[in-house]
Amino acid sequence: MTEKTSNDAPKAVSRRNFIKGVITSGVAVSSAGYLFRASTLLHGQQLTGGVGERLITLNVNGQQRRVDVMKQETLASTLRYKLGLTGTKLGCDRAECGSCTVLIDDIPHYSCSVLAHTVRGRKVMTIEGLASADGTLHPVQQGVIDEQGFQCAFCMSGFIMTAVGYLKTNPNPTRRELANGISGCLCRCQDYDKILTALMRGAENSRRSKLG
């Protein structure tokens, strides 16, 4: 286990760095990244080996959050199980479905494939942080309400966060362009047509709110 990975805090979390980060932590590579260990639940018992946690500070939804993380802990685990932000969903555990997408410095990332300790000093935004403090929905969330987008909605936060990130780079997309932009997310209800309509409405709402 080295200090190197945590100190580097790479700007873009590549798959390679993710794997490297997991390997250097020296715990079972195949599964440990998405398994949940909470030290607070150990009731004072001895741990079974060098699984250390370290207190770090993460900027999540505009707040500085102090949290104990393992080296091999994914951002999705930290968000869901330590910060209580369960709007971020796990659908596949490893970068296939996009349900866990969050924004890191405004760029959509699969949080199941980002190590929590690598996002220190960066801004993490989840579905819970989109609406204003007064409860006003983000224009993209409002677009989903307007068009009754999604069915079971398990994929919804991933799609919305991806769309919010994509629209920052292309605020006025065609349906085709937006479909490409959100294609890293999987909807198993296969409600793609209505999702696209809802997110297009979200884009329109965003443009209008900026004009206003």
Partner: protein
């Protein structure tokens, strides 16, 4: 699929629905959407309980084996490990007591959650609870199990061969022998069936062997139908096994309080999940509390949830601590259910106009190792309804294999049957020189269309069918004649093809209860026992009740998702029955409320009940005069008591409803009713599906240019939700055409397609950016509101229309099975004949 050059078209304006109604047929925002869109909606795995333990499963590495010994000492000695659960800890399977008092004995072949004789790779053998997931996973790693390998089989044909291995120790097929002294078939039993060497001689010629089957029915004169046919085709077709792949896995969290178990897990149904849990745990339903406000997809795999949920419940009992069982995606692949694939063969006779004169259908259904699925018999009934053959025989066998368990998946049997016959009809139309729409029109069901086997000399029949109108509307909106005039057309390496497919499935049941309360503040609470699985029927059906009472939706609350919340007896949300069944119940309940309002008004204000009407949140004298608000009427109802405020329940409602009525007593005007409306016929919904594809014959890749689903689905209740079902379920079907399948290593019985990318459901880039749907909005004449279900009917049309568009582009000799992948197309085009093995399962 890349190389997309699609002309951007604007979304076509939605047709206006709900003429003459205020709520029915209108769009609205469902009351669960705000929680979903803000991330506040809690799915099973989002719950946390104090001191909660975590459990992990040990899955069988072998497709069939016997557990000889479990060495657990080292694992259990680990700090933080709290308990182990094996099959020996499971309660004995409970018998089922039906509502009419019949006892159904628990099947000895049934699935129990954990096992000492795994019958598929990935079957859970034991579970460990520990203070956290990592510890539990480490404990699982330390377990050592001595297995005795047993014979196994992954392809139904292999076990039907003479001397072939059996997937279960006592047999390989499900049969339903008639019990002595009884009329119909009894409970299914596992027996052994082997076909002869002579039967299998067909296989060498690439044709499906057709040995003896346990099930068979027929009507009409098959021989003369074939004799008089202008064209007879005899074809085989293989449909894929596809996992449901719900995005939310079947994670479950459970704890016990005062002898009651509280279970959080995602299921399709709410009210009906409770008795299933009670049966699996072999405890009284009174001791079960089930919470599922949001479910991350079901598609038939979570009708009443999975038996695996009892693992969390039993570990919680053993440790006296809450237990969370988080199911990973890979675990879900094994325990998460799948659609059974079919190996099918059909001989079809056509008149020169394309009318089906005779149809001889033969199917082998790959059941997996556990409970009998109904796909094989369902496929015969659906095909007979949808194409109205003048004479038909159906034969089927449901074969067990050592592959993960199957269950109903959207249009169970309907998809497989329709997908086997549709390419044959497309081929016949080309051979006969008949238009593809015309050949389907001439075979379309209409009105009280008959279907299925003869029962006491008569076939059953549908409540109604307006599929011809849906086909015509679809052909017009899809500009069918314009498209066929230029198709197939080759430009460079690109070839276009168009396809149409019929589709139908069951669209409703009857006889369930509704329950509502008019509160003293004038608001109405609709008690909804329907599951919130994404179809929105949990909310939508109550719009019919609000419509009857003339109450604005803003004054209505829907109570759902928790069995302590006084829910009525409700249908399971499966088989597309909910919208039909529960609009009927909602309508009946609103009529009960209306009757009670009129009676209360007459009691308080004089006159007779029928002199009062209910509208604008008031009950008042017809033609003006005395009246009162619903809020006042609710207060009077409480004063009156008895039937008015729930102190008495109607005699004919289910005992579950009676208990809920009693729990709500005194809270306002309580209305409860059973749907007793007559129905002449069986309810089905119908869809005509249209697709255009473009194939690159140099790469074998193709993409879908356009898609339209045109539905005969009764009265439209909620247009946006309906559109979501029409296109969403179509796309589930499309997945079966363009790429989803299981792949097995038959030598070791190991599954190869374990993850999304290995059996990829369609992504947003696999479908056109502007899919289209339309619905006739013709009320079904046999139900009060006219609404039918719609989840399953579009599924087969999605698959069939794509397959037919592909054969339009490429010819009839490219594929004999679905899905059709780039390599299928490329290798077959080169060879000039289908190059995939025609009948082998899971390739």
């Amino acid at each position: 699929m890349d190389n997309k050059k699609v002309v951007e078209t604007a979304k076509t304006a939605e047709r206006p629905y709900g003429a003459g109604y205020k709520l029915i047929g209108k769009n609205y925002t469902t009351p669960d959407l705000y929680a979903k869109v803000t991330g506040q909606a809690k799915y099973a795995e989002d719950f946390r309980a104090d001191g909660m333990l975590f459990c992990k499963l040990l899955l069988s590495p072998m497709p069939h084996a016997r557990v000889k010994r479990i060495h657990a000492d080292e694992a259990l000695a680990m700090p933080g490990v709290k308990a182990i659960l094996t099959a020996n800890d499971l309660p004995a399977p409970a018998d089922t007591l039906t509502d009419n008092g019949t006892v159904i004995k628990a099947s000895k072949w049934g699935e129990r959650g954990l096992t000492n004789e795994p019958v598929y790779q990935g079957e859970p053998i034991l579970a460990v609870a520990a203070v956290d997931e990592l510890t539990a996973a480490e404990a699982i790693e330390k377990m050592e199990i001595d297995f005795e390998p047993l014979p196994f089989v992954t392809d139904p044909l292999d076990t039907l061969r003479p001397g072939g291995p059996n997937p279960r120790t006592d047999g390989n097929v499900w049969t339903r022998p008639t019990a002595p002294g009884s009329q119909g078939p009894g409970a299914p039993v596992v027996t052994e069936l082997k076909w002869t060497k002579a039967d299998f001689s067909e296989l060498a010629k690439g044709r499906l062997p057709m040995g003896k089957t346990p099930d068979e029915w027929s009507y009409g004169d098959l021989d003369s139908g074939f004799k008089n046919a202008a064209l007879v085709l005899d074809e085989t077709f293989v449909t894929p096994d596809t996992s449901h792949q719900t995005l939310e896995t079947r994670s479950a969290m459970a704890y016990w309080q005062n002898g009651k178990v509280y279970i959080h897990t995602g299921t399709q149904s709410t009210a009906q999940t409770l008795p299933a849990i009670a049966r699996w745990l072999n405890i009284s339903p009174d001791n079960v509390v089930f919470i599922s406000e949001y479910t991350g997809g079901g598609f038939g795999s979570k009708i009443t949830g999975g038996v695996s949920m009892i693992i969390a419940a039993l570990l919680a009992k053993k440790t006296n601590t809450p237990v969370m069982m988080r199911i990973s995606r890979e675990e879900e692949t094994f325990i998460g259910r799948a659609r059974p694939g079919f190996q099918g063969r059909m001989k079809v006779g056509f008149s020169k106009e394309g009318r089906i004169t005779a149809l001889d259908m033969f199917v082998i259904c790959d059941n997996g190792p556990y409970d009998a699925v109904g796909d094989a018999p369902s496929s015969g009934r659906i095909v007979s309804l949808l194409y109205q053959p003048q004479a038909m025989r159906w034969r089927g066998v449901t074969v067990l294999t050592n592959t993960p368990p199957r269950s109903a998946q959207s249009s169970p049997g309907g998809l497989q049957g329709i997908v086997i016959i549709e390419p044959i009809i497309a081929k016949a139309a080309r051979k006969l020189g008949v238009d593809q729409v015309a050949i389907r029109r001439i075979n379309c069901p209409e009105g009280k269309a008959p279907f299925g086997p003869l029962l006491q000399g008569k076939q059953q029949y549908a409540t109604s069918a307006f599929l011809k109108e849906a086909l015509d509307r679809g052909a017009e909106q899809f500009r069918w004649s314009e498209r066929i005039a230029r198709s197939p057309k080759r430009m460079g390496s690109k070839v276009r093809g168009v396809g149409v497919s019929l589709s139908c499935y069951v669209g409703g049941t009857i006889g369930f209860d509704g329950l509502l309360v008019i509160k003293p503040d004038g608001r109405i609470a609709f008690q909804s026992g329907i599951g919130n699985l994404g179809t929105e029927s949990v909310m939508d059906v109550h719009r019919a009740g609000a419509e009857v009472l003339g109450v604005p939706w803003e004054k209505c609350d829907v109570v759902w998702g928790n069995t302590t919340k006084s829910l009525p007896f409700t249908c399971v949300s499966g088989g597309s029955q909910t919208t039909h069944a529960m609009t009927r119940a909602a309508y009946a309940t609103a009529m009960d409320a209306k009757k009670k309002l009129q009676e209360i008004a007459a009691k308080k204000l004089g006159g007779k009940p029928e002199q009062y009407e209910v509208a604008n949140e008031r009950v008042f004298r017809k033609g003006g005069g005395a009246g009162m608000t619903l809020a006042q009427a609710a207060k009077y109802a409480i004063q009156l008591g008895g039937v008015y405020d729930g102190h008495e329940a109607p005699a004919d409602v289910h005992k579950l409803t009676k208990a809920s009525v009693a729990a709500l007593a005194g809270q306002g005007l309580v209305a409860a009713a059973k749907d007793t409306y007559p129905r002449d016929g069986s309810t089905f919904s119908y869809v005509a599906s249209f697709a255009e594809v473009e194939v690159d014959i140099e790469t074998g890749k193709y993409y879908i240019v356009d898609f339209l689903a045109s539905g005969d689905v009764g009265t439209v209740i909620h247009p946006r939700a309906l559109g979501g079902q029409m296109l969403g379920r179509s796309t589930l079907g499309i997945g079966h055409a363009i790429g989803q399948k299981w792949v097995f290593d038959p030598h070791y019985g190991q599954m190869v397609s374990k993850r999304f990318y290995q059996s990829k459901p369609p992504t947003i880039l696999d479908v056109p950016v502007d899919m289209q749907w339309t619905a006739l909005d013709i009320p079904d004449p046999e139900t009060p509101v006219g609404a039918r279900g719609v989840g399953e009917p579009p599924v087969a049309g999605g698959c069939g229309s794509i397959l037919n568009a592909l054969s339009d582009a490429l010819g009839d000799e490219i594929f004999q099975r679905a899905p059709v992948n780039a390599d299928t197309i490329l290798t077959s085009l080169e060879a000039g004949r289908p190059m995939q093995h025609p009948l082998m399962a899971h390739i």
